[in-house]
């Protein structure tokens, strides 16, 4: 194709493109938009699980009930850890953008530890529920909806932790630098999203649902 009027845009296209750096920008722009779309679908997914939880609140034909078995202190500690990890991941991100690789690593490590603490909290809680109160997914409707909702959230935390850990390992030999801060965006968005979902879950299950 060598027609002048259709391809006279090349000059404009180049101007908009502005060399290879702008092409990188294009790619991160794409990743950003893609991630927003993905998170929208995740929101719809969790929304459905929450609707199911609310639908069946108090519908169990037999115990135990949420009020009998859910232990608040543990989950409050876990929630605090998770909320704090949103702050640390933000600090890590800011450090990366500023090009301070060492600080980035420190905050990243803090995020990973806080996230892991949250998962440990969940594990302890589940252990109690299952072995002390006999609540399982098949015990009653509360067990069914509780383990599904909290379980899927925990799964998302686990995936986030894997991503963060991967970033951490890559940063050790210095593979992660300022250039990657746009790419790190999507990981931090995901992490913030998982945290926000938890705040809703916490409100629904532990505050409103008791």
């Amino acid at each position: 194709m060598n027609d002048a009027s259709l391809t006279s845009g090349i000059a404009t296209a180049r101007a908009l493109d502005g060399g290879s750096g702008a092409a990188d920008l294009d790619a991160t722009h794409r990743t950003h938009v893609g991630m927003v779309c993905f998170l929208c679908s995740e929101a719809a997914f969790f929304g459905t699980l929450i609707v199911a939880y609310l639908t069946y609140l108090g519908a169990s034909k037999s115990g135990p009930t949420p009020a009998e078995v859910l232990s608040l202190p543990l989950v409050i500690a876990g929630t605090a850890a998770l909320v704090a990890s949103s702050v640390t991941v933000h600090l890590a991100h800011a450090a990366l953008r500023a090009g301070r690789a060492g600080t980035f690593r420190t905050w990243l490590a803090a995020t990973i530890i806080l996230g892991a603490l949250f998962l440990v909290g969940t594990a302890v809680e589940w252990h109690e529920l299952i072995f002390e109160h006999g609540l399982t997914i098949s015990r009653n409707l509360f067990g069914t909806t509780y383990f599904t909702l909290v379980g899927f959230h925990g799964l998302h935390v686990t995936v986030g932790l894997l991503l963060l850990t991967l970033m951490f390992c890559l940063s050790l030999p210095g593979f992660v630098s300022q250039r990657h801060s746009d790419g790190f965006d999507v990981i931090s968005w995901y992490w913030h999203f998982v945290d926000s979902v938890w705040i809703v879950v916490f409100a629904v299950v532990y505050v409103f649902g008791r």
Partner: protein, 548 residues
């Protein structure tokens, strides 16, 4: 101009020539073709299943296949047609055309794109493997719980259904994300969202619709899987679970799914009708706006599938009213297409024939849809053959007629060869006659009280003649599809050379060679109006002087 010249000698064997390997490709055009070819295979399978259904219903008290096989046939037919034929076929066209139409070199995430295709193929395969594992799913394409609970559906057939839909659903979601991202971020310079071809516009809303409508059913299917495999109680009425929740969640997806299949079809029609009327589409903005309205409204009408489960009168009224509302933006589009045709210089080539077929058939389906949205009528005819007649006018009359228009319109672009017009005409008239003969009598059988999903009936009901008409029509449709497959097969090998722009069309995909090079455009074009090729061909009167 070099753009339009193409000699027979130029024609390389269609697409295959530059294929490194079909199994590893990440090129959007090859993936599009993979989607389309795979869904054609499923179309043949789903069609055979329909023929089994129709053969069984040919005469009263028939024992051709028996109830078990009959249940499997209508379940697999519905599941196949929706999930493995119409949706992937439209994605195939979307994949192939969207980057070309917006002047991009590929989709936003080419690897994810390949992943989507393979998930679709894998999901379809899993669903069909059930035949080898002791029986196909037999619970209907909407898999109503608690019928699908382990207590009532022993064995593994329902699990195959769940896994197949889950797997292909992941691929579908990835495609949706990919399409939206591509359209939002990869348009050629100058192509604002107000200048993209309407097909692109509709594919974008298709993606957005899926992003919000698919996850709920995914969650519901996972719940069902947990019920069946871990003894959870979501849909277990004995333990306080709800049969209605499944219906809400399923139809919250199931209804928008109708529009997921309809929007790309509308997009195809919006491309074909102007080109073959030799006129600009009438009311581009209102077609686009109607798309948005349909997308939003379609998320709020799902419970019109549940008028007979005994919701409250208030809910019935709300969902009935919302369903009526959808007729407004759909009607707007209808008027736009008709206004485009009106006063145009019609070129009745095969794509236009199928587009006109679409307009007429979809109109009938839309009208019976309005009838069903009226609660008292629905109470009478719900779960009768009236409904089967209605949704085939929408799905087959809507989607498949548009898909045929798309095949005849874009085949030359993808292969560099024309399809045979004479065979196309044979196919069109067979399809129009066979289609109406198959599905119109179903309305009457339904009004006479014939329930859907019964495997046989007695002679004294007065349904026999209507069923026989339907079965004859189905046989005609089988012939029609045989003609179509032959036409495809033969034209790939021996079709007349097409050149770059055989229809004298106006959108960017026709600006590159047929078939396009792997990189689509040597140089990314500059766009100044909605019809960039018109501007190119008519420098004395370009569109951008008129468009704001």
């Amino acid at each position: 101009m070099a753009v339009w010249e193409s000699s027979a000698a130029d024609i390389s064997p269609p697409a295959v020539a530059h294929a490194p390997s079909w199994a590893t490709t990440v090129d959007h055009k090859q993936i599009g073709i993979l989607y389309i070819v795979t869904s054609l295979v499923f179309l043949a399978v789903g069609g055979l299943e329909a023929l089994v259904i129709r053969a069984q219903l040919w005469k009263p008290d028939s024992h051709l296949v028996g109830p078990e096989v009959f249940n499997q046939m209508f379940t697999m037919h519905g599941t196949t047609m929706i999930f493995f034929v119409v949706m992937p076929m439209l994605f195939g066209f979307g994949n192939y055309l969207v980057p070309l139409m917006i002047g991009a070199r590929d989709m936003a995430f080419p690897r994810l794109n390949a992943f989507s295709y393979w998930m679709f193929a894998f999901g379809g395969a899993v669903t069909y493997l059930s035949f080898l594992a002791g029986g196909a799913p037999d619970v209907g394409w909407f898999a109503y719980a608690p019928l699908t609970e382990y207590a009532f559906s022993r064995g593994t057939s329902t699990d195959y259904w769940i896994l197949g839909i889950l797997i292909s659903g992941i691929g579908t979601l990835a495609t949706a994300v990919n399409l939206v991202t591509t359209i939002l971020t990869m348009r050629a310079p100058g192509m604002s969202l107000g200048k993209v071809p309407l097909f692109v516009w509709m594919m974008m809303f298709d993606g957005i619709l899926l992003i919000f409508a698919l996850p709920p059913v995914t969650a519901a299917i996972i719940m069902l899987l947990l019920d069946r495999s871990l003894g959870a109680h979501f849909f277990d009425t004995q333990a306080g679970g709800s049969a209605i929740l499944w219906q809400h969640l399923f139809w919250f997806f199931g209804h928008p799914e109708v529009y997921v299949m309809a929007l790309p079809a509308f997009g195809i029609i919006s491309e074909v009708v102007p080109v073959f009327s030799r006129k600009v589409i009438f009311g581009y903005e209102s077609v686009a706006a109607a798309t948005v309205a349909i997308g939003v409204l379609s998320m709020g009408v799902w419970a019109h599938h549940m008028f007979t489960v005994g919701m409250s009168d208030a809910l019935d009224a709300i969902f009935s009213g919302a369903s009526f509302l959808i007729a407004v933006p759909t009607g707007i589009k209808m008027f736009n297409w008709i206004a485009t045709i009106y006063g145009g210089k019609l070129v009745l080539a095969s794509p236009m024939l199928f587009a006109l077929g679409f307009l007429a058939m979809f109109l009938i389906g839309g009208l019976t849809g309005i009838m069903l949205a009226a609660v008292p009528i629905d109470w009478q005819v719900s779960d009768t053959y009236f409904v089967v007649g209605h949704f085939h006018y929408v799905l087959f009359g809507g989607s498949l007629f548009a898909i045929m228009a798309a095949f005849y319109y874009w085949f030359p672009k993808a292969t560099g060869r024309m399809m045979d017009e004479r065979l196309a005409r044979w196919q069109f008239w067979l399809m129009l006659a066979g289609f109406n003969l198959t599905f119109f009598p179903m309305h009457i059988a339904g009004l006479l009280g014939m329930p859907r999903r019964i495997y046989t009936y007695s002679a004294d009901r007065g349904w026999t003649i209507w069923n026989q008409l339907s079965t004859v029509g189905a046989a005609m449709l089988a012939v029609c599809f045989a003609v179509f497959f032959w036409n495809l097969f033969d034209s790939v090998r021996r079709g007349a050379p097409a050149g770059d722009d055989p229809w004298d069309a106006w959108t960017l995909e026709w600006a590159t060679t047929s078939p396009p090079a792997p990189y689509n455009f040597e140089q990314i074009p500059l766009v100044r109006s909605r019809r960039p090729l018109w501007d190119l061909k008519h420098p004395e009167d370009p569109d951008w002087e008129h468009e704001s």
